[in-house]
């Protein structure tokens, strides 16, 4: 299985994502520059956190038009796994690959600390190694992670089981404590917390590890190969 980590001007969690893949599943992983026009060799695309294009205008608004995003949309339509973390989540909503938008935190503060997440949907390719309802500890670091969608969209998210993670103590004001959502098909996930910063107990928590093993196991299931633990 081959991973891509997209790199925009201003991405700053790209190395963490790369290392997380190396350390958790040890599969091949490449950095892919935002001007790239071919993602066909990759099975999973990680859209990392950071401040792409300086977060000018709105977080993710400019990155959404980077050449590589056309390929991300194509990969999403093909059913490949796309994981957007923090700024990556903002980019995926701006690109229309996920519904809703991220607003300024209700507290007006940049929040940077561990959070307790509830795994609401453990059926996605990103969460199959977690138990439904399980509580995990994953850090956040964002100023604009306040998830918003209108009531109609929220009802749709709930009906289709697209809410994947919720916060135990909502740190940013997100609608119904949402920390992460997926698209209807379940192959595109966006989340504000950083699983790539939680892959070793030395970092305070290794609860993020199973996101990466989930992805590999989901891919192996689909391709008839043996699972890993």
């Amino acid at each position: 299985m081959k991973f891509a980590v997209l790199v925009f001007p201003g991405s700053n969690c790209d190395i963490d994502c790369y290392k997380a893949v190396e350390d958790t599943v040890g599969e091949p992983v490449d950095y892919v520059w935002h001007t790239a026009t071919d993602l066909s060799p990759y099975d999973c695309i990680l859209v990392p956190g950071g401040f792409s294009y300086g977060d000018y205008l709105r977080c993710g608004a400019i990155s959404r038009f980077a050449p590589v995003m056309k390929e991300v949309a194509k990969a999403a339509a093909e059913g490949k796994y796309i994981l957007g973390i923090c700024n990556g989540f903002q980019i995926l909503t701006e690109a229309g690959l996920l519904p809703g938008a991220l607003r300024r935190n209700l507290s007006m503060k940049f929040r940077c600390h561990d959070t307790v997440l509830k795994v609401v949907n453990s059926e996605t390719p990103f969460t199959k190694d977690y138990a439904a309802g399980e509580e995990i500890v994953i850090p956040i670091a964002h100023g604009e992670g306040n998830y918003y969608c209108d009531n109609e969209t929220l009802a749709r998210l709930q009906a289709n089981n697209q809410i994947v993670f919720t916060y135990k103590d909502n740190p940013n004001g997100s609608v119904t404590d949402i920390a992460g959502i997926c698209n209807e098909q379940g192959n595109v996930l966006g989340m504000m917390p950083h699983p790539e910063r939680a892959v070793d107990a030395l970092l305070g928590t290794d609860d993020g590890k199973r996101m990466f093993t989930s992805i590999l196991n989901a891919w192996r299931d689909r391709h008839g190969a043996a699972s890993v633990r």
Partner: protein
């Protein structure tokens, strides 16, 4: 040359934390009459055209595509020249 002025604001139905913070500051300074504050973006675009009709169409397209996120923001614009 046509000058387009674009204003982008958070929708009325969406809470604007910046506006709430500024309202709180105004209240604590004694400006208790401030009922609400909405904070937005102001953009000046100089367009290299004299065709007002097409300029307007293009500005709307710019707003819809990039300048505003219509999920949470409203926009309005003025054209001069």
């Amino acid at each position: 040359m046509i000058k387009a002025t674009v204003y982008v604001t958070i929708k009325q139905s969406v809470l604007d934390p910046q506006g709430v913070a500024v309202q709180g500051a105004l209240h604590s300074m004694g400006f208790g009459e401030v009922d609400s504050v909405r904070i937005g973006k102001y953009m000046e675009l100089n367009l290299d055209t004299t065709d007002r009709e097409s300029a307007e169409k293009r500005v709307i397209e710019m707003c819809e595509k990039l300048l505003a996120n219509t999920v949470i923001e409203d926009y309005r614009y003025e054209l001069e020249g």
